[in-house]
Amino acid sequence: MLARDHFRQLVCETPFHPRTAALNQLNLWHRWRDHTVADAYFDVGMEYNAIRNSCAVFDLSPMTKHLITGPDALAYMNRLVTRDVAKIKPARVGYCVWCDDAGQVIDDGTIFHLREGVYRLCSQERQLDWLHSSALGFDVRIVEETNDVAGLAVQGPTSCAVLKSLGLAGIETLTPFGLRSFPFAGGTLEVSRTGYTGDLGYELWINPERALQLWDALFAAGADHGIRAIGTLALEMSRIEAGFIQAGVDFLPADRAVRVDRTRSPFELDLGRLVDFSKPNFTGRRALLEEQHRGSRYRLVRLDVEGNKPAKDAYIYDQRRTNVGVVTSSMWSPAAKASIALASVKMPWGAPGEELAAEIYYQKELKWNRFMARCRVVEGAFFDPPRRRATPAADR
């Protein structure tokens, strides 16, 4: 739990800061939930390449974490999120979203079923107020534990080999979204096969007191496997290639929206698979059921964009030059060898295979050029290597 005087310090360092600071040759930092994290250490391209070709380490300690326990923990979680939490067995992790009463997404995150009836909810945004509001009538205990758990994402094709060298015996048999504990330095290291890169990868969770020990051991183990610390910019590239959405970028958290049409439902974010109407009640259910009958207003699409110019913030048009949406995330994808984008378009536009156009502005030596790039709606991730799911994972 946060110390009572936590507010006196405006920006905190993560438990790994002594190591990340030493590596940050660019001295590039930004604030993530009031923690200092690196944008990049040396070169974004090389860091991206570590994700896709060797092993990348990302400090995700500022991730908001809540521990939810008590006799009603499962019932509470099931009322909170749209999916059926009973299907997330102990030692498993599940991706989820939660909505307000109007069925609009407040945030997405992951549920770690640590032990029978003990859940950790990880999210991008702070959620304590909403979690407490939702606890009315439930016998649960909700503890914000963001600063009690340090986290490292270890991602890339050699990540399993690195962890094996670290001494995590049998790690290669951990299935995607599996969770396992290992003894480490007299304590416990929790490892989940999860990540935000769409690649083979793991997330390591540890008591902050042993954080530096873990960092040192990990980098020693990875020395022969191309291990490299990466910043947020490289991670951002990999998550767009994986087709993952981000709160505040691809959708506006419903509790922050002032204007009614700015929010999105799970269906409008292509997350309909996370909505389980067989549950008799969860927050947003009535509105989402109504949406299912009446049809959604928007659709999240993945676009393969003509040319090599990133379609940053581009308007999307249909064949008749009607403005039908806007790009929310975009990049030149080294893995897909294409300009790719995530966009939110009005229904009924955006059916798979549909041809649309992106209005791209780009600058060459201070001169602006406009380019109507053709783009095609594609299904699934832009980059989805088999190694992401292969079990046992490649460990050499």
């Binding site: 009463d101 509001s133 939702s134 009315l136 009538g137 439930f138 008799p280 927050t283 259910r285 009535r286």
Partner: protein, 519 residues
């Protein structure tokens, strides 16, 4: 062939009985379950001392919907009035008693300016109260405006206000959200007039005269009629229980079954739908529709449970303001009390102890901080003067609403009740010297007692503060203002819904219309 739809109504308060009767008339098979030993809820007459009977909570009838009275033929079922139009009498030691009947001064020393101001004020408030009254029989509009079904009822409200005419509409919009203190100060000199009129604005609320929105509560108070006379105050023959007895009789004739001594423990939910109730004795009663006359917090948070609701809606229900401040005093008297300066002929009227605006505001001040009024305000009646059935010959019953007695009293009511009663008796003694010696028995019901004996959260008459933020489409909360709750098959029909509390019946009738399928 279709089976008759079954309905179980939780609570045989007057709204529950009204709702049940209309539903039975619409062909439903209706069972009313009541926790108490007798039906009637807070509208009952009961013996509080051997030989002395009194209306246990509500004691003046002024809001009962005349349409319901007619449609359910309550007169035929035994409802009659011992008095159908009490006048107001303002008591103040050292000042001749002031008596008002609507806009007319019956007794007291009042300047010509005040007399004409009172005429103007009364007529205008009456006109404005009719705007409020017209909403009583309507299901509140939704604020979605997605179809004409949503827009028309809202437009009707706007039209009612517009039809006041340009000048009065402007005045209505000006004062509707104001406090009664400022409005009365604009018009009157006589402290007693202002006191009486302000009392109507704060009775049964957690407001003082200077609290915002107290003009609305004054209008609400005036929005009823008895025997065709609007704003009238009546005493039912046999006490308030007579209203419930007539409703019970009408309900039974319509085919409603009423089970008393059956306390609902839980509303049963299956697959997101209310399917019946479980009684304290474990018995389960299945029904196609569950209708609750209990207050919204009791219904939705205790009997149903927040887990069956969505987060924001549950939070709204939890935040609903329902903290009672009105206590009820019953005195068994061995003779007639004598009030100072009060002509004997006015003893049976509505005696108001609220000599001026600051007296009321000062009485309210402690309530803000969880303390009772050292010098409380009171609405006093002696119903036995009109109804010999209530007390032994030569004896009298005094029934008074006393404020302010905050439900959440600092230090608790176990310790606070005795000193509060002493404070009340000291005020009464000042107005009616010697009254203490006549007292054979005294019963004081604090909001906590009302909560415990009648199952009303916070002991609040209206099942929730009557305020602009909890009225019409916001009553009890957005998402349940049209009597249907978010849980399929579960409806509200009590005073917590539009149009609110007082012995009225409109919430029950409106709910029945929604449940039976016609708006």
């Amino acid at each position: 062939m279709t089976e008759r739809q079954t309905v179980v109504v939780i609570g045989a308060g007057h709204n529950g009985l009204v709702c049940a009767t209309y539903l039975a008339r619409a062909g439903r098979k209706v069972l009313v379950v009541e926790a108490a030993a007798q039906p009637g809820g807070a509208a009952i007459t009961r013996e509080f001392a051997p030989g002395y009977r009194v209306s246990a909570v509500a004691h003046l009838l002024h809001l009962l919907d005349p349409v319901i009275e007619r449609e359910l033929a309550l007169a035929r079922h035994g409802l009659s009035y011992a008095r159908s139009s009490l006048v107001n009498v303002s008591l103040s030691p050292g000042r001749p008693a002031l008596s008002l009947d609507g806009g007319d001064v019956i007794a007291g020393e009042v300047s010509p300016a005040d007399r004409s101001a009172l005429q103007v004020h009364a007529a205008r408030m009456q006109k404005f109260a009719r705007v409020i009254a017209r909403q009583h029989a309507r299901v509140p509009p939704r604020l979605r405006f997605e179809s004409w079904h949503d827009v028309l009822p809202a437009a009707a409200v706007a039209l009612d206000i517009r039809l006041l005419g340009r000048k009065d509409m402007r005045e209505f919009l000006r004062i509707a959200t104001m406090n009664i203190y400022d409005v009365l100060e604009e018009q009157f000199e006589h402290a007693g007039i202002k006191g009486v009129l302000a009392l109507d604005a704060v009775l049964g609320t957690r407001l003082g005269p200077r609290s915002g929105n107290s003009v609305y509560t004054a209008l609400y108070r005036q929005s009823g009629s008895v025997n065709g006379r609007s704003g009238a105050l009546a005493l039912p023959q046999g006490g308030m229980g007579a209203v419930s007895n007539a409703l019970v009789s009408a309900a039974r004739i319509a085919g409603v079954e009423i089970r008393c001594g059956a306390q609902v423990e839980e509303i049963i939910v299956r697959e997101g739908r209310a399917t019946g109730v479980r009684l304290r004795n474990g018995e389960e009663l299945r029904a196609d529709r569950v209708v609750s006359n209990a207050d919204p917090k009791t219904t939705l948070l205790r009997l149903l449970g927040a887990r069956h609701l969505e987060t924001e809606f549950a939070r709204r229900v939890q935040q609903l303001r329902a903290v009672g401040t009105a206590a009820k005093l019953h005195l068994a008297l061995s003779g007639r009390p004598q009030f100072r300066g009060l002509p004997a002929g006015l003893l049976g009227e509505r005696l108001v102890i609220a000599p001026d605006l600051d007296y009321i505001e000062s009485a309210f001040n402690p309530a803000k901080y969880g303390e009772f009024s050292a010098q409380p305000i009171m609405e006093v009646t002696l119903p036995s003067l009109h109804d010999a059935s209530l007390a032994p010959a030569g004896h009298e019953v005094l029934s008074a609403v006393v404020q302010y007695a905050p439900y959440d009293l600092k230090g608790g009511w176990a310790a606070g009740k005795r000193p509060f009663l002493a404070a009340i008796m000291a005020v009464l003694e000042e107005h009616a010297p010697g009254i203490g010696a006549l007292v054979q028995h005294a019963e004081l019901l604090t909001p906590l007692d009302i909560e415990q004996q009648f199952g009303i959260t916070g002991g609040h008459w209206h099942h929730g503060e009557l305020a602009l933020d909890q009225f019409m489409m916001l009553r009890p909360v957005a998402g349940a203002a049209q009597y249907a709750t978010p849980v399929a098959g579960l409806y509200l029909c009590g005073a917590g819904c539009h149009p609110g509390g007082g012995i009225m019946g409109s919430a029950g009738r409106n709910a029945a219309r929604v449940i039976a399928g016609g708006r």
